[in-house]
Amino acid sequence: MIDTLLAGIIHGNTYALVAIGLSLIFGVSNVVNFAQGSVFAAGTMSGWWLIAEQHWPLWAAIAGVCAFTAVLGLAVNLLAVQPLAKVPPIAALLATYAVSVVLDNLSQVVFGPDTRRFPQALDTLNFHVGGFRFGTLDVVMFAVSVGCILLLGGFLKFTKYGQAIRATAQDSDAALQMGVPVGRVRNLSFMLASALGGLAGVLVGMYNSNISPSSGTAAGLTAFTAATLGGLGSLPGAVLGGLALGIVEAFGISYWGAGVDNLIIFGVLLLVLWLRPGGLLGKVPLISAEPLTGTFLGGGRPIRLRWWQALALIGVAAGVVPWVADDYQLTTGTQVLIFAILALSLTLVSGSAAQISLGQAGPMAVGAYTSALLVGEHGWPFLAGLFAAGLAAAVVGTVLMSPTWRLSGHYVSIATLGIGAVTVAAILNLDWLTHGPLGITAIPPPSLFGHQIITPTETYLLDLTVLLVALGLVVRLQKSFLGTVWSAVGADETALGASGLRPADYKALAYAVGAFVAGLAGSLLAHQYSYLDPTMFSPELSMLALTIIVLGGMNSPFGAVLGAVVLVGAPEVLRMAQDARLLTYGVLLLLLIRFRPQGLWARRA
């Protein structure tokens, strides 16, 4: 018992160290900094390099790492956050995500992908409580966490710059008017938070001993849960949240085995958001700011296609392409189509209603598994399976999301992240239904009226048909009175409530429609791949869907298709630029959000 508790505290401490930086930035800039995990990972890798390759002593390496990551943090702020200060925070969230992709891939290019051993510069076994042994490293980590609260707390309370930070956090406009150099304050906060992240990287790297450039993302997500649990914006909360999360996780693993790890972490995230979004020590603002200038991403007006233009495009897609293209291009085309459908699932809920969903992989997974099980194991006809897939995805998604809709802004987005992860974790653990990690194999190809759809041409045409149906559905709804109401949700929920309409209801409705469409995409995926397992429905998949509509124009159904053509189709063309592919993706996303947030297929409103 004690051992588990100690293990939980020590591990929780590693979360806390990264979470502190997250909370600090959130408090000051009102931004969820997705890049914190990458900065942390950069700290680990540069720390390794300084100690293992350059043979610096520990203290010097830490100083070097902190200086390096502080500069990184400054760059993140200057490139991705500060320029987006005037628009809704979701823009900065996406921008920091883009930065994280760039940083992670740069790290992989520079250091190579190998897993390495972080030098054990501090003792790890010199103390013991009963059978449980720990070491100087663990004590140091704990001291750093506590020290952070005390030092940072003191800094924030008693020094001029600290007070400037707090003033900016409370009300940046007022602070600006009082002469506080808000820009410099934000830079300072970012540098502080990133230096902390770097320090955490070194300590946690030593703790984990196995390190690689790709270990940042998971750390970022968990730290994020810890910060939310403690209360985004509260430093003691970050530490408290980290420790609490570590303890809960340790005991959860102790009772149920470590397979439920993600379920616990994201389950905690969801519970916090549903029961007490402010977390243990934080506060959620009561009345949201009044947005007079229009939303950020929904601000673009989609270019309207005239009916004959739409018809011409459909004609080309259906009639010309299958003749002109070869099997490889058609296969690529099917991937484009499936992901276009997935992206389309976001248009109403994240475009019109401005509820940014970071978890569309969840309903897609539900749809895929439903179709695979019903058609593959219970002999349902394909079309019935397809429809059931959409329906199941809609129902499951709606049920899971229902407590979330009374939240708004990035709390909703965070919740969707959690839902996506929990859905996949549940699929992983519900062995008796889904075969868990074994996945489902031998899923039959789609069969229509006795004819099996297996050639690339036929698969392409099937997917195209489903896309057209989904497009029809989304376009019709968007143009209807419901579309107007959804746009009103996205524009100003408070005003909508004052008009007698319950925003939560309409958000839920938009999400349900989206989930249905995502489920359809899942079904097509399952029957084409003939194989499914939970790892296929990752957070990266969700982010890809979101990126597609950001590129294409969030409000625009056709933009979703266009975005898919570019983001899924073009990399196939760009196969030559191997190493640079992911980097390009990250840079592209960042540029988009900075300079053309309305996407390709839209005018600036």
Binding site: L286, I287, E290, P291, L292, T293, G294, T295, G298, G299, T398, L473, R476, L477, S480, F481, L482, G483, T484, V485, S487, A488, G490, A491, D492, T494, A495, L496, G497, A498, S499, G500, L501, R502, P503, D505, A508, L509, V513, A605
Partner: protein, 300 residues
Amino acid sequence: MTAERSPASASASASAPAPVLEVAGLARSFGAVRAVNGVSFQVRQGEVVSVIGPNGSGKTTTLNLLGGLLTPDSGEIRLHGRRIERLPAERRAELGIARTFQNGRVFASLPVADNVYVGQYAKLKRTRPFPRLRHLPVLRWLPLLAELLLALVQPPTVRREQSEAAARTETQLARFGTRLLPRADHRAHTLSYANRRRTEIARALALEPTLLLLDEPTAGMNQTETAEVLDQLLDLKAEGQTIVLVEHKIDLVMTVSDRVIVMDEGQAIAAGTPAEVRDDERVVEAYLGRRRAQREEASR
């Protein structure tokens, strides 16, 4: 949901109509700050009641408590005798309370006409079937899905209701003369500040509310614009609209109000007709400070 009726409304005498709004002992604190500290008043049918007071006196908080953006720590609010203080804002809007906001909230990315359209959407019967089920958990999906289906299919009954709504929208916009009508399909964020506020009022009126709450409707407007708003308020008053108005511009308040409530530090320190309130010592004191009042007293 409780719907207690006060004895007063049950035995309403023929002479005085039952009050539309009754507020008793309303209180709300934020941390240690008592923003509203025991406010009581009534508003009768067709009355225009203004709430005035220095900055920080709790006027907007009171309005937010009435509108449902905030719930009170204690006290009661009754609309036609029915207690509403625990109901969320959208519920109160359904019951007939419309409001505008201090800095003006419009659907910035929607055209002006759609702004007004959304204001009346809640009342559409054919487009939004099963209204009573909407307040029940789980069952609310029946009306929602019905609404979805109707949006997909759009049968003639729905389309007729939509064109009726469009006609009503035009009527509301016409109220503002040439200000809004020619801009009906301009997006609200392209409008001037004054026009945005007008749009907001038009949206609120589209609800055909029992009670209209206006939070500083002329804030930021120049004299001409303010005069226009005054005219519109007088028109509404002539039509019998019940209004609670929070305002700073004393002239406007005095012209349009039947009664004025003066707040200071969370409490109502004076209430009465405009004339009564203007001469009230306490009001002068609240606005100008005690010493100045004493100086004036001494210099008489």
